[in-house]
Amino acid sequence: MYDFLEQNAMYIVLLIALIIWAGLFIYLFKIDRTLKKLEGEEK
């Protein structure tokens, strides 16, 4: 297990970074959509 993690360290870091980025993107996208709805209600 340790050998696997050591040999593929870059790919594991990439995977974690991509998961964080996906979470951030979904969060930002949702806020944007909610804002659009609220702006529509204000008009």
């Binding site: 790919y11 990439l14 991509l18 980025w21 806020i31 944007d32 702006e39």
Partner: protein, 222 residues
């Protein structure tokens, strides 16, 4: 902002991350794979500088036109800039741990970014201490203009006039000649571009949020 822009940002940042961790880089003595941090750390610092600059520009506009929209833009830019400064500090600190052996060494570069965080921390304290919108906007605008004067000094000048361990000449040398490997340079420039796109999206969301908040407060007061 339309969905093409948002999904464009998604693809661009994903490609940057893949380029950062997968594309082979030339051997750089003393740095090796740790040099990959440049793809993320420098764009984060660039965004911090850009947002503080936009904050200053909007503050000048507010003082000229007395329109609260400019104050909202200035405050939002400063908040996003503060966030990116913290992210640049964290990435730099992680790199320092593996290159210098400690997360924090009070190197001139670290000290200057710390002072910059304090300066903009004081900006938010100032804003939260005043209730009147007009007075808050006026004082904060003046402060944001003065605060920005220190930004080029702390980001570009101070770390160069004092002896620092922070790598210099990694992209261009003192004579303006590009020193970076062409493959690294293209990923680096693409990363700068992608993070700039992401920044404008975040800033757009923040500004719209603050505008809605202001409209609701004004409605409740009537």
């Amino acid at each position: 902002m339309n969905n093409i822009y948002k999904f464009g940002v998604l693809i661009a940042i994903t490609l940057v991350l893949i380029g950062t961790f997968v594309v082979p880089i030339p051997t750089i003595p003393g740095l090796y794979d740790k040099a990959r941090i440049i793809y993320l750390h420098v764009p984060l610092s660039w965004i911090a500088f850009l947002s503080f600059f936009l904050s200053m520009i909007n503050s000048v506009q507010y003082l000229r036109k007395k329109d609260l929209v400019y104050d909202i833009r200035s405050n939002s830019a400063a908040e996003v800039g503060f966030l990116f400064t913290i992210l640049a500090t964290i990435t730099g600190s992680l790199w320092a741990k593996f290159n210098w052996g400690s997360y924090w060494n009070w190197d001139p570069r670290e000290t200057s970014i710390f002072i910059l965080l304090l300066i903009y921390g004081a900006y938010f304290s100032l804003r939260s201490a005043i209730d009147s919108y007009e007075q808050k906007a006026k004082l904060a605008s003046v402060y944001a203009i003065i605060a920005f004067v220190t930004v080029p000094f702390f980001i570009f000048i101070m770390p160069r006039i004092v002896e620092s361990l922070h790598p210099a000449d990694t992209i261009v040398d003192a004579r303006g000649k590009i020193t970076m490997n062409p493959v690294m340079l293209s990923i680096f420039l693409f990363s700068l571009f992608s993070f700039t796109l992401l920044f404008f999206w975040i800033l757009n969301v923040k500004i719209r949020m603050e505008k809605l908040r202001l409209i609701r407060i004004q409605k409740n007061n009537i």
